[in-house]
């Protein structure tokens, strides 16, 4: 029998970055009921995450009224550990500031903060767009191609949609592309060994932290630390004001060349828009993504070339570590990109080898009830029997999100039938009646 709590020892690729502040957790069922992959159980009054089911989508962080679910990320203090520090700002960072009409203000502020270099993730995104456009034109490519950019979606596909794993784009995500390009440039420029160069990604979400520490598709991420967008935002504000007030005319310096395509990646639909085809589907919000993947698996979508999927509503601007409302952020990005060239970054020579995944993403059957078919059949029969005994209210009081999920936990031997308050009540009533009879 597969013991969920022990599964983690078997697959270390199931590291995830959302953690629980047990002191703040009151064991309510808000996260339990809203987790789109049924990855949460409330046991002994505390909310536990089943690592294998969690895709780090951040839904639990959004709904927890006690702020007990937390995203883990790295402190900026790590900057002192490297001789040469590079910041990788994603386009959604630009969308956090009011009245920003020049992204160089943000990039210059990052330098003021102590970074030796900045490399726009939006620039790398334009390279990803260009390589993807070529991929879609190649007649050997099996269409549609699913975007590899959202780590939460990739984690979802690998555990729930076995027949879609091979449709994931073989091209790395913009953040990984940016890290590789930035490291190469820095090593050429500084002649420092790799370990003295620190690559800091400014993350809008916990899923990207996970992708850096336990990447899928690449053997090792070139990003060294993940700092939270919400952490860096208040530090950049005063620095940006200072740079904007500079009267010498030498600031802000031109530090980024990303154009409209790269900037647009920050919002839902931006990635697909950069492919210059109208045969695409762009879906945002993890629940909608799950529905779309179900339909895609059933071959209900015809004539599509590309599928963009974002776990967060609104795209990456909707990440839980972003500060601004995602819909306002979209307005700001639209303003910011207004007078930018279509694309500021192009592949000049051959496509670098680091642009592609070097490791296959494999299906992980974590939802399988048993380890053998025989065991699965016997457990499924047990579950089907058990589920009839529960009231079907899906109230969550037992600590599982639905009566069905609870039946599975009972069949697996990790929960008890009497965790259900309705079963318990009947049991107590029966006991009392027996007692009366004895008296």
């Amino acid at each position: 029998m597969i013991n969920l709590l022990k599964l983690n020892e078997k697959y270390d690729s199931f590291f995830h970055s959302i953690s629980l502040d047990a002191g703040s957790c009151r064991g309510c069922i808000n996260c339990l009921k809203r987790c789109p992959t049924e990855a949460i159980r409330v046991r002994k009054g505390k909310s536990e995450i089943i690592n294998e089911y969690c895709t780090d989508c951040g839904a639990c962080i959004r709904v927890c009224p006690h702020h007990a679910k937390k995203a883990t990320f790295d402190s900026l203090d790590y900057m002192s550990e490297y001789e040469y520090k590079i910041a990788l700002p994603p386009p959604e960072l630009y969308a956090q500031f009011n009245n920003l009409d020049d992204k160089n203000l943000v990039l210059n502020a990052l330098v003021s903060l102590g970074f030796d270099d900045v490399y726009e993730v939006a620039s790398a995104a334009e390279l990803v767009s260009e390589i993807t456009r070529k991929l879609l034109k190649d007649e050997k490519t099996r269409l549609p191609v699913i975007s590899s950019a959202c780590p939460s979606v990739i984690r979802l596909i690998r555990v729930r949609f076995p027949n879609l794993v091979d449709s994931i784009s073989p091209i790395v995500s913009p953040m990984e592309m940016a890290a590789n390009a930035a490291v190469q440039l820095a090593m050429l420029r500084t002649r420092l060994p790799r370990e003295k160069i620190g690559v800091f990604y400014i993350t809008p979400c916990p899923a990207k932290v996970t992708e850096i520490y336990a990447p899928l598709g690449v053997s090792k991420s070139q990003i060294d630390k993940a700092v939270a967008l919400s952490d860096i935002y208040p530090r950049l504000l005063p620095l940006m004001k200072k740079i904007a007030a500079d009267e010498t005319g030498s600031f802000p310096k031109e530090l980024g060349k990303a154009g409209r395509i790269g900037i647009s990646w920050g919002c839902h639909g931006g990635e697909a828009g950069g492919l210059l085809t109208d045969k695409y589907l762009a879906v945002d919000g993890i629940e909608n993504v799950i529905k779309a993947l179900e339909d895609l698996e059933d071959s209900k979508f015809k004539d599509l070339e590309f599928i963009e999927l974002n776990a967060c509503s609104g795209g990456c601007v909707g990440g839980v570590l972003a500060v601004e409302n995602p819909y306002m952020a979209k307005v700001k990005l639209t303003t910011l990109r207004k007078y930018l060239p279509v694309s500021g970054t192009h592949i000049d020579e051959a496509v670098p080898p680091y642009a592609y995944h070097d490791k296959k993403i494999e299906y992980q059957p974590v939802y399988s009830l048993g380890e053998t078919l025989e065991e699965s059949i016997s457990l499924m029969n047990k579950v089907d029997e058990l589920v009839k005994r529960f009231p079907g209210l899906d109230c969550g009081c037992c600590g599982a999100p639905t009566c069905r999920a609870h039946s599975e936990d009972v069949a697996r031997g990790i929960a008890s039938e009497r965790d259900c308050i309705h079963i318990l009540r009947n049991y107590v009533n029966k006991k009392e009646e027996l007692k009366k009879f004895e008296d």
Partner: protein, 143 residues
């Protein structure tokens, strides 16, 4: 019921076209929980989906029975619809008797029965005009 056999039963309602495909979707998700190989899941999902759509379009619904044992997934699709007068003709790719409004939705391309045969290891169709149709299919579980 033997412990090493799993039986699933689904009623396919014929009166609500918008719900067609729900049974095959439920079957697919059950199979994922059984640790069944992805290509087998795909084949079963296609065969049951095509059959389910056929039952809704042509036969006012029916039933799907799935039996899973160590060797194979067996599928029995039954309806009490109009029946198929010429089975050989119906098995031909592209042959369809679906109404225009159904075809406008992208169904009725005449690939349903041929696909059911193509994606299964055993396929048997019994039909009697005025009585109904029964399709028996098997997808082997390769070891």
């Amino acid at each position: 019921m033997s412990a090493s056999v799993l039986q699933l039963h689904y009623d396919v309602p014929g009166d609500d076209f918008t719900r067609a495909g729900e049974a095959s979707s439920a079957i697919k998700n059950k199979l994922k929980q059984m640790g069944i190989a992805p290509d087998v899941i795909r084949n079963v999902a296609i065969a049951t989906y095509e059959g389910e759509i056929n039952m809704v379009i042509h036969a006012n619904g029916g039933t799907i029975d799935v039996t899973i044992d160590a060797d194979a997934i067996s599928l029995v699709l039954k309806d009490t619809g109009a029946g198929i007068p010429d089975v050989e003709l119906a098995m031909r790719e592209g042959y369809t008797t679906a109404k225009e409004e159904i075809r406008a939705l992208g169904f009725g391309a005449g690939m349903g029965l041929p696909n059911m045969k193509k994606y299964t290891d055993e396929f048997e169709l019994k039909s009697e005009v005025g009585q109904g149709t029964e399709v028996n299919m098997k997808v082997y579980l390769k070891k």
